[in-house]
């Protein structure tokens, strides 16, 4: 018995030595990373797993002997926290992948370098190379702080067989057709619906508002929530709830899509793969098209940009690497490793993108726009989601709720 505890004590001491050891050992590599100002190392933060970016980094290293690209993968869920701490300590990478919606927040905090001099220097970075909507995401307050990396947008997934039955084999092209088709689809009987409304997703509401002609937040930072266009969009969405066209929120969309109870849904390109894998039974019975239009058919421009961190010790090397990532070769490779759609327009001329579903997203990208570029957008949009919930779940009056929301948004935006 006594010996046992002696052993335990020795183990503890040994472990303490290990702790001390690992502390100092890694300290060395830490100071290396921090002082990576040797113009040879480019430190890059990517979201997702590194297997999608590592091959491209290798290609770059081969082309530029002596240069080392150090890729660190960061989980999406925690990336925002990680970025915050990097800003706080002024200790971070050279190149950061930025979710497009984060640009205003981090740009206004001065955490991202102005890209203008590098755009002059590298023709790959010219703004006309990329989709318009994607370029809009890189600009804040007239300064370009990022280069589009990959894009995504939302399209309409629909069951061709079921939509043909209600008279829309090509899918609905306008809001009116959308709702008409939806009513007929829901009328197939108990437990059948039109499409889910992703009311928790602030961008979902914005897309309908844009289509109705609203700016959501004007260029003068004035919110437009109580204006007729935005109200029209909310009324339209609310009517879908009132007429029981929307499935309960916990109905799994992919399952509903397979068994036909939810014959349409609006989502992004990643769902192509998910539907294919989970629902092989309905292959050939579904496709994707651009969103139905009201005044226009604007969709959300999402994806990621690449920025140079303000406190980078190697901005030149960072810019050169970003220029390489914007080349057609790198963009195509990234599509291959991650299925992310290229932001570079010329890349779309390759045959990989002739698949009708992908091409539908390609077409939608031309009319895709980013969320309002104000740094308070996250907070404002959360308020808009809460207001919409009060309408659909709480049964509040649309106009009154939108007046209140507009006032709240004015407060958040400091008007």
């Amino acid at each position: 018995m006594k010996k046992n505890w002696l052993v335990a004590l020795i183990t503890l001491l040994a472990v303490s030595v290990i702790v001390a050891g690992c502390g100092s050992k890694n300290n060395n590599s830490g100071s290396n990373a921090a002082s990576g100002g040797d113009n040879k190392t480019v430190k890059v933060w990517f979201m997702g797993t590194s297997e999608s970016v590592e091959p491209i980094a290798k290609m770059y290293e081969e082309k530029n002997p002596g240069v080392k690209v150090d890729v660190q993968a960061i989980p999406w869920d925690s990336a925002h926290d990680k970025l915050l701490t990097a800003v706080a300590s002024k200790n971070g990478p050279d190149v950061i992948q930025m979710g497009t919606t984060w640009i205003p927040e981090f740009a206004s905090a001065g955490a991202l370098l102005d890209m203008a001099p590098y755009i002059e220097k590298y023709p790959e970075l010219k703004t006309e190379n990329f989709f318009d909507g994607a370029i809009q995401t890189t600009q804040y307050d007239g300064v370009t702080v990022g280069i589009p990396w990959y894009v995504e947008t939302r399209g309409l997934f629909y069951r061709t067989d079921l939509l043909a039955e209600v008279g829309y084999p090509e899918g609905p092209k306008t809001w009116d057709e959308l709702k008409d088709a939806g009513k007929k689809l829901a009328a197939r009987g108990e437990g059948n619906y039109m499409m889910p409304v992703d009311a928790k997703d602030q961008n979902y509401l914005s897309m309908f508002a844009w289509q109705a002609g609203s700016d959501v937040i004007g260029s003068d930072r004035k919110p437009q929530f109580n204006q007729p266009e935005y109200v029209e969009a909310m009324n339209f969405l609310n009517s879908l709830y009132k007429e029981n066209l929307v499935p309960p929120t916990d109905l799994d969309t992919v399952t509903g899509f397979k068994d036909g109870t939810v014959p349409m849904f609006i989502s992004g390109p990643w769902m192509i793969q998910a539907v294919k894998e989970q629902n092989p039974e309905i292959d050939g019975k579904w496709t994707v098209k651009t969103l139905p239009a009201n005044k226009n058919n604007k969709s959300l421009m999402g994806g990621s940009d690449l920025s140079i961190f303000k406190y980078s010790k190697n901005p030149e090397g960072a810019a050169k690497f970003i220029a390489y990532l914007s080349s057609e070769e790198a963009q195509l490779k990234f599509y291959e490793t991650s299925n992310s759609l290229p932001a570079l327009k010329t890349a779309w001329e390759n045959e990989q993108f002739s698949d009708p579903m992908i091409a539908a997203f390609g077409k939608q990208l031309e009319s895709a726009i980013p969320t309002p570029m104000v740094k308070e957008w996250e907070e404002v949009s959360q308020a808009s989601v809460a207001a919409f919930e009060r309408i659909t779940v709480g049964g509040a009056d649309v106009q009154a709720e939108m007046d209140a929301l507009n006032e709240e948004a004015n407060g958040i935006l400091g008007n």
Binding site: H80, D81, L84, V87, A88, K90, E105, F106, S108, A109, G110, A111, K200, P248, T249, D250, L251, D252, T255, K310, K375, E378, E379, Q382, A386, E389, R390, V393, G394
Partner: protein
Amino acid sequence: MKQHANSWHKYKYPYLFIAPAILLLTVFSILPIIIALVISFTDMDLLGLADFSNINGAGFTNYLGLFKDPVFIKSIVNTGIYVIIGVPLVILFSMAAALLLNYGTSWLFNTFRVVYYLPSITNIVAVAVVWGYLYNSRYGLFNYILSWFGVPGQAWLQDPTLAKLSLIMMAVWKAIGLNMIIFLAALQGIPRSYYEAAEIDGATGWKKLRYITIPLLSFATFFVTITTLIGWIQFFEEPLVMTKGGPLNATMSMALFIYNNGFKLSDFGYAASGSFVLFIIIIIATIVQFLVKRKEVEY
């Protein structure tokens, strides 16, 4: 001077024993709390984080704003409901489970000790996915079971009142294991001779439980009560992964509110002030516990 040396000599060991813990906690807990307290009186946001010269004092604006914020008020009420329902359930169930498991020593009891402990160690992501399925209003197991009794399906996570209870149920399930082993460890400390003596006096199972076991568990119960109470006032993970505080903020807890404002909206000053309100509530609750404990007769 001599007196100092004397008292140092006298108290050398306790001070040496607590020194490492106090040192580490001071640097990595107390100091950050003080920094957070300072932040709570400023308007610090991401801009301020990037460059401290952008931080302005805000006086009590954050604190005043909190009590005008209907979401915050709602989160206080919700947290109160979580605590009032959840904490007694956790204590009751975990004590019951420990008593059951302590009843025998065969392989059956050993196996089930692991079984009861499983929920506590299951990754929260898996828990969220699994319980999401259980609560699903259409395919979920719970509604399926209700249908046997002719009860209509419930919207477990969509109904504002029911959603709170659903989260409590899940959290209790997850919390039983942890507290159960604390009770188990405490039960091991009760000498068999006590029971033997009681049996000679003709005490039945219930009487033994009432007059020997539960009183002798009081020090463990006190620990479990305090830590569970503190934990539940900081109720966070369950609403985060299951409902994000919805529907209509019906499941929003104070800790989730703080997290949303701090990390989602980068409003650090506001979030910090929210957490000090939370801190004060916890301190009051803890002091009350200690006072109640002191009033109880020592065994």
